[in-house]
């Protein structure tokens, strides 16, 4: 089962439509929303919250509208604010068009955000064991029933590819039973031939590279023609 956000290979979305000279933010509130999400930080940014937006709403909402819905949801879920507070304050701004949001500066908080944003902190963890696969190994992407959030897209499941690179060990992002304490795993870059993924509708001479956590993969028989 996959969610609406798992879009690889889904038909019918039409042409890609670039916008000439697109601004970074189309509206002032988008910039504020971006700043809020980023400075609220990791504890409050949740891909799962974005992915669990009701599918028709997900498809019809802009990127920052989804961020807004997700951040609201997480803040309420964590008990930081209540739906009533938020409703009340939204009503206040609706009836006071000139009103601006409260302002307060917190130097300690500010420097923490700055260092998180601009300082180089590699997400790779120290390896405690050796990797199960090595470059050149043929693997199959597993078809796993997840509890929700996963980074294993539907379109590679059950398909065979070849390990291209071993990146090292990273935190495991998926929602799993008793989600505490899932140890970090090796991440691999795996190469799939377009013909393996898309069969007769594949474009000629194409391949796909994708990053996979070790538990997404199982050993598979040799696959001819992939190098």
């Amino acid at each position: 089962m996959s969610g609406v956000h798992d879009m690889g290979g889904v038909h019918g979305f039409g042409p890609v439509e670039p916008e000439e000279n697109e601004p970074v933010f189309h509206e002032e509130w988008e910039g504020r929303m971006f700043g809020l999400m980023v400075s609220a930080g990791r504890d409050y940014f949740s891909r799962a919250a974005i992915e669990s937006i009701e599918p028709t709403t997900y498809l019809s909402s802009s990127y920052y509208e989804k961020w807004l819905m997700a951040l609201e949801k997480v803040m309420v879920a964590k008990g930081v604010l209540s739906p009533d507070e938020l409703e009340g304050r939204t009503g206040y701004f609706a009836s006071n068009p000139g009103a601006v949001p409260s302002k307060k500066e917190d130097p300690k908080l500010a420097s923490r955000v700055r260092s998180g944003m601009y300082r180089q902190r590699r997400p790779r963890r120290e390896a405690t064991g050796s990797s199960k696969f090595k470059p050149g190994d043929t693997v199959r992407a597993r078809d796993i029933e997840t509890m929700g959030h996963t980074r294993l897209p539907d379109y590679v499941r059950r398909r065979r590819g070849v390990v291209d690179r071993v990146y090292g060990v990273y935190d495991f992002p998926d929602a799993v039973h008793g989600s505490d304490g899932v140890p970090p795993q090796y991440v691999y870059n795996v190469r799939f031939l377009a013909s393996e993924l898309w069969r007769e509708s594949a474009e000629p001479g194409g391949s796909l590279h994708i990053d996979m956590w070790e538990s997404y993969l199982e050993p598979a028989g040799r696959l001819e023609g992939v190098s």
Partner: protein, 207 residues
């Protein structure tokens, strides 16, 4: 949505997300979860400083400096940090080199992962359902919509960013750019060429 920012004299009712964002900002500031000046600063940095010009400097350096190019392909993160770029959504960057035989293009099918320190925030089309759904399945057809027609013998390699690694494409140095300086070359490395949906600009098209 209205694109009219000059609404001081004729204020329109604000759209719901704008009101809601103001409400959320107020409450989070009051509760001490965010600091107002940081929000101002983040908006300003991503509007003015952190964008594809950073990536273009990296590309231009690789075009003129062979040992830099090799370092960039060996460890993108470190080589990019040499030019002072790095940070959130780019803590590990892998650089993919386009050649006459192989054309790389980057997508994120599950959300919109993108190398912020070198390209800034992604354009709307990169986050669109159309780009996310189609690029993995029919990259040539997507590239054609960007005006890029690749020869039959070229291998199209699509990179779906699903983990913590972010990808930057090193486009081919365009023909006719031999005499150009590093800073002039940076003007040829467009955002789209570093995502891989186009080639770098030809010097002939640059005034």
């Amino acid at each position: 949505m209205s694109k009219d920012h000059g609404g001081d004299h004729h204020p329109e009712p604000e759209p719901y997300p704008a009101l809601r964002t103001k409400a959320l900002e107020s409450l989070l500031v009051e509760k001490g979860l965010v600091s107002s000046d940081v929000i101002d600063e983040l908006v300003r940095s991503y509007e003015e400083d952190i964008g594809p010009l950073n990536g273009a400097k990296v590309v231009a350096r690789a075009w003129v400096n062979e040992s830099y190019r090799l370092r960039l392909l060996e460890d993108g993160t470190d080589a990019i940090a040499e030019l002072g770029f790095g940070g959130a959504e780019g803590a590990e960057i892998v650089v993919l080199e386009n050649t006459p035989q192989v054309h790389n293009v980057v997508v994120c099918t599950l959300c919109s992962c993108y190398p912020w320190p070198v390209l800034g925030l992604p354009p709307t089309w990169y986050k669109s359902a159309a780009y996310r759904s189609r690029t993995v399945m029919e990259p040539r057809s997507v590239l054609r919509e960007f005006g890029l027609e690749l020869g039959e013998k070229v291998e199209v390699r699509v990179w779906d960013s699903t983990a913590d690694i972010r990808y930057l494409v090193l486009p081919e140095r365009p023909e006719g750019s031999e005499a150009m300086s590093e800073s002039e070359l940076a003007g040829l490395a467009t955002r789209d060429s570093m995502i891989g949906v186009q080639k770098a600009k030809s010097p002939a098209t640059v005034g």
